[in-house]
Symmetry: C2
DNA sequence: ATGAAAGCGCTAACAA
DNA sequence: TTGTTAGCGCTTTCAT
């Protein structure tokens, strides 16, 4: 039963509703003894402020919307959790929207969410900048893992870790390295590819680019044949899912990892740890990502200035890669 | 800008606010020509009803709360998506709460959610019935994948599929089958174990029970040694994650799957399809689960009677199991 | 430090 | 079919 209101409490104590309201929203404005009584009976009655009434009065809902492109992609659940936990710490709840496979619907989803929340956290690697910006316009928002002109963002930058991975393979004696590119429309994919290309310029190892791929498991599996054909002995996959596909594909062709070929993924999703051998990959500080995202959004909502934040991914070496040297 | 209200529209058209309100909530009560005008200017002004005002007035928020124990467990993301999609179809949004590793907090999460939603969808395999029931009391709720005295539920029953899996292994010539039990406190775990035990009673294959385990990947991996020691050549794991662990553990010990040992998991999570060889498992109709859950909750909220719904899992044979015969 | 009163945007009788 | 009038529960001036 959600029956207790500030009025029932007020009546019970012979004070006014405003006092009860203040006891919660501006505790400093209420005499200690009174406040204690109020809190006590609130407790006893199981009172919880009605967020909608509060929202109506203040214009703040205590809700943020989180848009993810595909919650089924193992990269996102940890992100969702991190955000939700960070939000809970600020007494705000998270309205989740999953774009599903058809990213087409994202602007519509944003439209639906925006009316009910204080602000939006948007992870949308594929939708066009223009469409995204138009959909977001007028709503406090911060973008996750993507830079979008004029909007605050928090991203994890894997450039250094990826280059380190490439260098590590080169140091291990690999002369030809295959880069499996992610979706052409993906912001992260182009960043990652760029990082590796930049590395290759200063290296005497040879870079072979394959793709772009949709970045599904089967894409990686299929690509194995091309990798083998290319003669590359080291592979940098756009993400872990593709990397695991490559592992499977390599096994299909009887190639041993890491003896014949080394593989490195990106994101360090659950899969990376459950595959055999465990996948070398680039790990992102997801909890930090969540904290920063929520905090940045809070600032935007409050009208404060926000700086874009950039977190660093780090190389995690596991079983799909041989010792350097 | 979320500035347009029913009043701005009313004023603009020279009608009353109630008429505008009706145009949206009870369209049939408004003359066609007028409604069209209203809808048109609403459109033009970018009007969206304020859900909080509406919630205050009606007591309905258009929000449902979804509690999952661990969104990082690959079983849940598809469930979340299914529920969210089903909800979107009814113009309701989903407030997500993730209990995280420490399921302890679930009653607290429920407490936090209940005040802001029309009803709760609860997936909580581990929390005690008593605690759960107390936390839920007074809030419309339906329980997912668990039966809870007095509360409506929608569950997927894997009994038949599991027995079929066991029988399949027996038919393939396996004389000794290991059952890796899930967490003792898990409702699903006890159901699954029971199914297999019941099957064993009528079979002349021998059943070896191992566990209970926490059902993490490493539990399965570790259990591989015991499986080998037991002499079992077929294994039924509580879930896919453990099954994949078993696969890894068996590989550690140089055993071939499915040549030496057959393995069957349960749930058909993404992992099952990306492991090599692909895991034979039991597949649940998740989208249906979501639809039924949302619909059942809608009924509870509306005060209508609801029947518990039981969906059937089905056996999916893949590479970790040999042809019968 | 506290109370009175207005108002947030919407819905729901009740009248007309 | 439409308008009037009260609220829904809370916050927030403005007085006191």
């Amino acid at each position: 039963m959600n029956r207790a209101t500030i009025y029932s409490i007020a009546q019970e104590l012979g004070v006014s509703a405003s006092t009860v309201s203040r006891a919660f929203s501006r505790p400093d404005l209420v005499r200690d003894s009174v406040r204690e009584q109020i809190v006590a009976t609130a407790q006893r009655l199981g009172y919880q402020p009605n967020r909608f009434a509060r929202g109506l009065a203040t214009g703040r809902t205590g809700l943020i919307g989180l848009l993810v492109p595909d919650i089924t992609n193992p990269f996102f659940p940890p992100v969702v959790r991190a955000i939700e936990q960070a939000a809970a710490g600020r007494d705000t709840d998270v309205l989740l929207a999953d774009a599903g496979v058809d990213g087409m619907a994202e602007p519509a989803l944003i439209e639906r969410l925006r009316a009910q929340v204080d602000g939006l956290l948007i992870a949308s690697p594929r939708t066009s900048s223009a469409a995204l910006k138009e959909a977001i316009a007028g709503t406090p928002a911060v973008v996750i893992n993507r830079a979008l002109q004029g909007l605050p963002s928090v991203v994890v930058d894997n450039t250094a870790a990826l280059q380190q991975a490439a260098q590590y393979m080169a140091d291990s004696g690999h002369r030809k390295i295959a880069l499996l590119c992610g979706p052409a429309s993906s912001w992260a994919a182009s960043r990652r590819a760029k990082a590796v290309r930049r590395w290759a310029e200063d290296s005497d190892a040879e870079l072979v680019e394959l793709g772009p791929f949709e970045a599904q498991f089967d894409d990686g599996r299929t690509a194995a044949a091309d990798i083998i054909a290319s003669g590359a002995t080291g592979v940098l996959a756009f993400d872990d899912l593709m990397a695991c596909g490559v592992l499977a594909g390599l096994a299909d062709h009887g190639r041993k990892v890491p003896d014949d070929i080394s593989v490195v993924g990106c994101d360090d999703v659950l899969l990376a740890r459950t595959v055999t051998p465990a996948l070398s990959t680039v790990t992102a500080p997801i909890d930090e990502l969540g904290r920063h995202a929520v905090q940045a959004l809070a600032q935007v909502v409050a009208g404060e200035p926000v700086e874009n934040v950039k977190l660093e991914g780090s190389l995690t070496l596991r079983g799909t890669t041989t010792p350097a040297g």
